[in-house]
Symmetry: C2
Subunit: 432 residues, 2 copies
């Protein structure tokens, strides 16, 4: 639609996650025009998706309209658009609502669930990478409890009451903990008919330990917390297949279940048009130390979709919000420098630490040398996540929910509403 170049250089950012939003903010005073494209009109605070999935907080509280974030930034434009292709030869992004010319392109598309090519697992397990998926997880859990109450088939009832989380990273650990707390605090209150039923929670992880990116202390303590909460943990095994009824693990174990949640891996969302040779392990775009994609002068990648590959850093940085935020901030400076003809500076990652929460009063935290677990880690986890949420209202509402949940061991958000899973934007006149 606009093939014309402007006098002021245009930076197109694809993706309104942690990296894209941070970059756009930090370009506020740069001599550029910023155009942010996203297929959703909101930024998602992914670290709290598991709480939406288990009914602790509302879905709306972890989404924040992108336009709201930037309503006072003069050099910023947002378009709701699904990117179809990047035409690097012509410096153009093609989308479902038109084509856009760029001077600088930043790919900040993040990562999506990785099924490692297994279509059966993709079809039959539930992912949890956005608000709609988290709300679908919530509906599935609640719906299967409802079905368990009315079914007369014992095998089916057991399967409906068996919850398997695949993946022992932060998402899997947090989801397993939250489902176990549903069992502990909610089952007897809301489903008296299931109070004495044997609801089972399994956590299946390929590595020898949980939270493998954290310290051995954190991994061990997390495992102890989860085991104490009556979660059965399988380490060093892989899921072979799941047909919607029977989950097979490669050590010969089979689990009869209707609820399988997939948190076992992510893969970079590389847009069509980017060359194969720029894509490395995990579907990420290989970049140099200023986040410039291999083979390009004016195309960059930040966050989960980027792998900053250098001699000291052959595997790229971990796919966490802090990396995206820091890369967004740093790239804003480097783009300004490039425009002014000044030298760029290499990105360095400052690891502020890692945390994961397992349940009420239970979390693990690694802050450099300082490693601690339990109540204080849990308090710190809550404080850090609350402060990171976009917007005063979201902070206040999540805080209120947490306070009520803590005091009453209950919440009001267990509604079964089905959401479209599709990532494609509905473009029919009437969106039903």
């Amino acid at each position: 639609m606009d093939k014309q170049k402007n006098a002021i250089p245009r930076v197109i950012i694809i993706g309104g996650g942690f990296g894209g939003v941070q970059l756009a903010k930090k370009l506020k005073n740069a001599p550029v025009e910023v155009l942010l494209l996203d297929k959703h009109n909101y930024h998602t605070f992914q670290p709290l998706l598991y709480q939406v999935a288990t009914g602790a907080i509302e879905g709306d509280s972890i989404g924040f309209p992108i336009r709201r974030i930037f309503s006072r930034q003069k050099n910023f434009t947002f378009h709701l658009a699904e990117v179809q292709k990047i035409d690097t030869a012509n410096n153009t992004v093609e989308t479902n609502v038109g084509s856009y010319a760029y001077d600088y392109l930043v790919i900040a598309t993040g990562a999506n669930t990785n099924y490692f090519g297994n279509k059966e697992l993709e079809r039959n397990t539930m992912p949890m990478k956005n608000v709609a998926e988290a709300l679908n997880v919530r509906s599935l859990i609640l719906q299967n409890l409802e079905k368990a109450l009315v079914t007369t088939d014992k095998t089916e009832r057991d399967a409906l009451l068996t919850f398997v989380i695949v993946g022992g990273g932060p998402t899997g650990v947090e989801l397993a903990g939250a489902i176990s707390e549903l069992r502990e605090f909610i089952l007897c209150k809301d489903y008296p008919g299931l109070c004495n039923a044997d609801m089972k929670v399994y956590l299946v992880e390929g590595k020898a330990e949980l939270l493998a990116a954290m310290s051995p202390q954190a991994s061990l303590k997390a495992k102890k917390f989860l085991t104490d909460m009556d979660i059965t943990i399988y380490n060093s095994v892989h899921v072979e297949s799941y047909n919607g009824f029977l989950l097979k693990i490669d050590d010969g174990t089979t689990i009869n279940t209707r609820n399988v949640f997939w948190a076992a891996g992510v893969r970079g969302e590389v847009p069509t048009g980017m060359p194969e040779e720029a894509v490395v392990k995990g579907g990420r775009l290989q970049t140099d130390e200023i986040n410039r994609v291999k083979g390009f002068d004016n195309v960059f990648a930040i966050g989960d979709v980027a792998a900053v590959v250098t001699g000291q850093n052959p595997a790229g940085f971990p796919g966490v919000a802090q990396v995206a935020l820091q890369q967004g901030k740093h790239l804003a400076k480097n783009i300004s420098n490039l425009i002014k003809g000044q030298p760029t500076t290499p990105f360095t990652y400052t690891d502020l630490g890692t945390m994961a929460t397992i349940g009420r009063n239970k979390a693990v935290a690694d802050l450099h040398k300082l490693r601690f677990q339990g109540f204080f880690a849990w308090l710190l986890w809550m404080f850090v996540h609350l402060m990171s949420l976009a917007g005063f209202s979201n902070k206040a509402i999540v805080f209120f929910n947490w306070a009520v949940n803590y005091l009453t061991r209950n919440s009001d958000n267990r509604l079964i509403i089905h959401y479209f899973k599709t990532d494609t934007m509905e473009l029919d006149p009437v969106a039903r």
Copy 2:
């Protein structure tokens, strides 16, 4: 599934709206077993749907899990079930999860959108009778603003920026007012590119006045409020057709629009199996003065699906929450009386008054002889609605949202997420 009768009489209530929930609560100490069936697991506070549709409050805040309401009521059971048929000959309700025998049956299924048989209008306009539909309205409004920003076709842009509300009852008036406020307070902030665009809001009503059930003062003042907010009102006309692009009105007017919201009528949701001869005007079940359905001894109807037809009351009571609440409460007593062999008492409706809100500081209220409009009506409207919401958390969160909206003239809830419109419960193993 359970064809057996119990020693204690079983009351089956179909529908967890205002009437059904109130009845179940009031049967707490009655010598009965209460089974509530609903296709949703939550009670919906319908009067605030329009605020969800316009992003003022979260969808979750006006839904409240039915199990939560009754977690301490010993004689109460809830089953998530879609009623397929009522077999009055065998005193049985057939559902998608099994059959249930009843001693007393209460139909409290409410009303759904009435298109008066017009399939084209049903397909192309948006209803707003439940949380999912309200969230779809929200998505459509926001999505069409996004599209208006990027389209290059002037006619299409005008159509995307034209909003037509059909129906001048409380729902239509409140929705029109809220969309007009989106235009006034949000358009320039969030969509600078549309700030000078000519966004239009129309309200189309078949009767000669708006809010026809209220006093002439209220009707006139509501019309003045809406006109002052730059809403074009058509009275005494009917929508003939709408093909998704062009709306035709029977006075010859045509409107080029992509947004048509249907609030022009409701129809009782009579379950299959109820005899034709019991159904009267508006698709409601004709009942006697103790809400017993015509032709039955042990089948009752309350709320929007019921028309209490007596000599003085040939058209039934209005379809408002107060009627349902009062009928629920009254029927609880009469069912207890019937069981104990005591005489029943006829239902009488105490009209506590009617209110409708048009916008910031603007509402109309009829409380018997006391009729007032403006700021105090608006304060009273807020107070009454807040107090009527189920649950402390919902009250607190809606109050917080209102306070923030009032102070900032903005909200954080404008997320585009698509919802399944289907009312049928998804019963596949994986609910996507």
